[in-house]
Structure formats: structure tokens, C-alpha cells
Symmetry: C2
Subunit: 324 residues, 2 copies
């Protein structure tokens, strides 16, 4: 049972999710082979998870049912066994404070049937399919009743919060718009032109650019909160992943692969989170932020919200592109 | 050399502090005895740090000088060897983006000469002295030219960002008011009455109260971002630590000791951060927030700013007070 509690007087929320206490505390060790008998995300172990909500197989989208699971899949979307929010949440009530029931959806996107696979190794077709799945699943949950935001993110590595090492992304659909995005949107709405378009103009082809193709650029942003932070921005102003056709999705997948491959090559075993930021409003500019985990946000950050970053992005680029 | 960079278009800042890269990456192991030859904070090793800016000894406040260090001290305030900001920062310039030089102060408050000491073991006199030092040092830096905020915090435990285990607090004086506090202040200014005074009214003597004395209450807040989060609030509306006389400081110290002792007794070796939140404006209500580190803020938190807390504060109180 979860509930969404509002701050006493600020427009901030937290989720009290008591059932999450039960989830495995440490990543399970998996075998070296292609099928790991202990990993619930591996192919062959489909019956160890709840029925999949969407199974991508040979260009088709299928569903599991209670007593039969689709096998031989490419990508498998399953409800999280320890969901943060749930579609059948019960009402909660606290006489003195604002709260609402923990309604929402929490899905795991298992990106490959193979335990040892990782984005660095994905083929072009695999990249395209993963991006298509991102688009499909975000749009699917976005259309659900009372859902205001769909958070799509990936935790890679224990230090970034991944509790299982088999490559996967997660999606949490929530019944409110996050304050962070609302705040950003308010600022953007007051500006004459899109500030992300301006960032592209200023950073494109300059010292902090890490990668580019026809459709996207990848930069180590001037304002980098953490070492080796990377942003991926579409050149053409687009608000939401639903605005990308397959060519653009393919292009986006290549940027992501380049980024995580370079991070991994530069600092082996680096843990990171990446998150899609998007709003279905014309003024917003879709972006992906990749935040590696190299240090701890400590008392100063928690007191001021100001991050201390010991690696200037200009130096990070030198490292990432092997120039130094 | 550090610099303070502004976000491309939001009122947010980060500090690019390249010299911090040099700081020790792992806590140094120290001897079991009273004096650890390897710990720079231990008494007897005064010459291994920069000269102290303030040394509290037998009721007096002294200073080191370059070639002689005060020994036999009770509390010692020293410039951080790897400062995030520095009083002699040099100008920086980026043609396209907003930035300012890394001007500020970064001080370590070594809370005891003894390596094995910790707040749980402090006597009443030691608690009072530490709170007096907090007040003194905050006021000292608050009066420095161009300083807008003095962040005082403690990182306890490796997971909370403490790089040395000898008990210490830190103070970073910065040339800007943190956005988080400004935002809070704006909301407070628009309200008819102080929302923290209202919290005290609503939480006092109720299920989420952990401790109280004549002057303060300690609560596990209804809105708890992390497991076992605790807030300390003065009953009498006071904006800033400069408003506390010695009796109140003593009372505050006792609350802090109670809180960290209960945290430590409930979850041995628990890491935590505590931070003082204060503004020298009559409407603000001084508070200390203690945030234990039990899990990782992962992709969802970084995408939405919404924290997932698996331990409801009501349950945390049961644990902390040994009721369950």
C-alpha cells in the first residue's frame, strides 16, 4: 500500500511505499551463461514474473496470460513485482494533512532476453526497437485515466539504484505533474524562444559537444551537476517522444548507445541514471539527461540544492573523447 | 580553482570545484586508541592541518598562527584543506553563459579532540559548547562581505559523504541565497501565519513526535522524503541560530543528541546528514533536518524530484522509540 503525501506547505510530494521494504536488498548474483536460472529477467524464467503487459517478438506486440507466457521474445514489459504505485490503490485519509492514494503504474522494460547483454552491445535494430518500446509504453500510460506524467528512466549499476543487473529500464506513471517539470515549464513559457533550442545553438560544434548526428546532439552541459553528466537534445524542437518517427528514434538510440559506451569505456563499471524529460505541450523541448554516480550528494547539497562537481564538463569531454 | 555556474535558464547553480578531485577518495582508517597518528583531526596532529581560524579551549576562543598551534583544545575550527569555495578566488569568464568566481569560505568544525568521540557520548557541557560554536561560526561568516548564506551541516558515515570518521561538522559560506530556501521563503511570505508554527501545533504530542523539551520538538515529519527522517523545530518562532541564548542552545544540543542516539541505536552504523535551515528574516522558522542515508535516490527521483520512502514516519517512530 502506497500513498502520495504532500509537503506541509510546499508544492512537493513524496511517495510512502511501505511494500517496497520487501524488495531484495542486494543485486542477485547471476550465472555467467546466457540463461541464468536465478535471474527473473532472463529468457526461460518468464514464469517467475507477473504476466507481461507487452511482449515484443519478431515485430509483433503480444501479451502474456495468467497461465501461459510468451517465449522467444525480444523485449518484455512486466509489472514491477514491488510497485511504487498501483492501479488498484486504496483510499487513504489523514485528517490534518494532504495526501492521496498511491494510484499509478510501475513497469519494468526488460531490454534483452540475454543476461549479459547491455546497451553498448545493441545492434541498430535492437536500439530502434528499444526506442520504439519507450515511445509505445510512454504513450500507452500517458493515455490512462488520471495519469499526469510518465517517468521513464534507467538505473544502471548498483550505485545508481539498480537492484538487478540484467539490463532494464523502468517506467512509473503518476497522477501528478512533477514540480520540477512544472517549474521548468513556467520559466520556458515566459521566454520569447525555447531555451533548449538556444542551448543547441550555443553548444553545437563547441568544446562541450560529445557527439552529434543529423537529428540530435549530445553535450556535457556547461551547467553539469555531476561529473560526466550528459544531455541529449533533438535539434528539431520536439516536446515529447510521441513526436519522433522511426528514423528519429533510431537516431536517438544511436546517441544513447554512444553516450553510455563512452562513459563505460572512460570509467569502467560506472553506474549511471538516465531519465527522459518530456511534456506534451508545444513549448517544451524533449531531452534526456544522463547522470553518472561517482560521488554522494551530502549535507551541503541537501541544505542548498547546489551540487559540487569536481570534474568540469570541459575536462569530462576530453576524457570521454580520449583526447587526454 | 572553483566557479559557480548558473543553469542555462533556471535559477539554479552548481559549483565546479576541480581541486576537490584531489581529496582522499576513501576514509582513512584510524587507530583504536585515543590519539590516531594518521587522523589529521586528532589532538596531537594539529600541525597536519592549516592553522585553525578558531580554537575553543577552556571557555576561551583562540587562533593558531602559522608556526604555532594551540593544543589541549575542546573544539577546533579549521579551513577545509580541499575547499569548495575560497576567499581569494579568481575571476572567471565564459562569454556565452552566466558564471561567477568561486568566492566563499569552507570550514571544518572538529567537534572533539578524541578520535572515538561522537555526539551520542557528549556531556551536557560538550553539547552546549558545540551549539555555541555553531552559533558563533555562522554569525562570523554571515557578516563577511558578499556572503549571502552560511550552510552548516554534518555528514556522518561514509555513505553520507564523510571522508574522515573523526566527528566533525562543516560550514560553507556562499555568495548567493540557495534557491530552495528562497522558494520556501516566498511561500512563507504569502501565508497568514508561519507554517512551521502550524506544524508544531499539529504534530506536538501526536504519533509522529519523537522527543520534546520545553523549547524544541523532534518529529518524524508527515512528509518524510527518506526513512527515519527527523526535524527539530523551536517551539518559539525564531528565524536564525543567532536568536538562541545559551539555554536554548543547550536545549537544542540535547534534542540533536537524542535524535542521533536513537537513530544509531535503531540502525547501528546508520549514516546520516543533518543540516541547519535558517534565514535572517523574521518570517522564517529555524529548523534542523536530519536525513539518514538508507537507500539511493535513483532515476525516478532524479526525473521527478519525488522521493520514494519505504518506511512510513509513523512506523519509524515506533522503531525509534522501541515500541515495536
Amino acid at each position: 500500500m502506497s500513498e502520495i503525501r504532500k509537503h506541509y506547505f510546499l508544492e512537493e510530494h513524496c511517495i510512502i511505499a511501505s511494500n517496497r521494504g520487501k524488495r531484495p536488498s542486494a543485486p542477485k548474483a547471476c550465472d555467467e551463461g546466457k540463461i541464468s536460472s536465478s535471474c527473473v529477467f532472463c529468457h526461460g524464467n518468464e514464469d517467475q514474473t507477473p504476466p507481461a503487459t507487452a511482449v515484443y517478438k519478431d515485430g509483433e506486440v503480444l501479451r502474456d496470460n495468467d497461465d501461459q507466457r510468451v517465449t522467444g521474445w525480444d523485449i518484455r514489459c512486466i509489472p514491477n513485482l514491488f510497485p511504487v504505485l498501483s492501479p488498484d490503490a486504496e483510499d487513504v485519509f489523514h485528517p490534518d494533512f494532504e495526501t492521496k492514494k498511491g494510484y499509478g503504474f510501475h513497469e519494468v522494460i526488460v531490454e534483452s532476453p540475454l543476461h549479459k547483454s547491455r546497451m553498448n552491445l545493441f545492434t541498430d535494430n535492437e536500439l530502434l526497437l528499444l526506442m520504439q518500446v519507450y515511445r509505445d509504453r510512454v504513450m500507452y500510460y500517458q493515455s490512462k485515466e488520471d495519469i499526469r506524467y510518465v517517468s521513464l528512466f534507467k538505473n544502471w549499476g548498483k550505485k545508481a539504484g539498480a537492484s538487478l543487473e540484467h539490463t532494464h529500464s523502468q517506467l512509473i506513471a503518476i497522477p501528478l505533474m512533477p514540480q520540477e517539470l512544472l517549474k521548468e515549464m513556467q520559466v520556458i513559457d515566459d521566454l520569447d524562444r525555447c531555451p533548449y533550442c538556444e542551448i543547441i545553438e550555443k553548444e553545437s560544434g563547441k568544446e562541450r559537444q560529445v557527439f552529434e548526428n543529423r537529428d540530435f546532439i549530445v553535450i556535457a552541459p556547461f551547467y553539469s551537476k555531476v561529473p560526466y553528466e550528459l544531455w541529449i537534445l533533438p535539434r528539431k524542437h520536439t516536446s515529447h517522444i510521441s513526436g519522433f518517427d522511426d528514423r528519429l528514434l533510431h537516431s536517438l538510440g544511436k546517441c544513447l548507445k554512444f553516450a553510455v559506451s563512452r562513459l563505460d569505456a572512460t570509467i569502467p563499471e560506472l553506474a549511471y541514471n538516465y531519465m527522459l524529460f518530456q511534456i506534451e505541450k508545444p513549448n517544451y523541448h524533449f531531452n534526456i539527461k544522463i547522470r553518472p554516480v561517482t560521488s554522494i550528494a551530502a549535507g551541503f547539497e541537501k541544505n542548498t540544492g547546489i551540487f559540487i562537481n569536481p570534474v568540469p564538463p570541459e575536462l569530462a569531454v576530453e576524457h570521454l573523447l580520449n583526447r587526454k
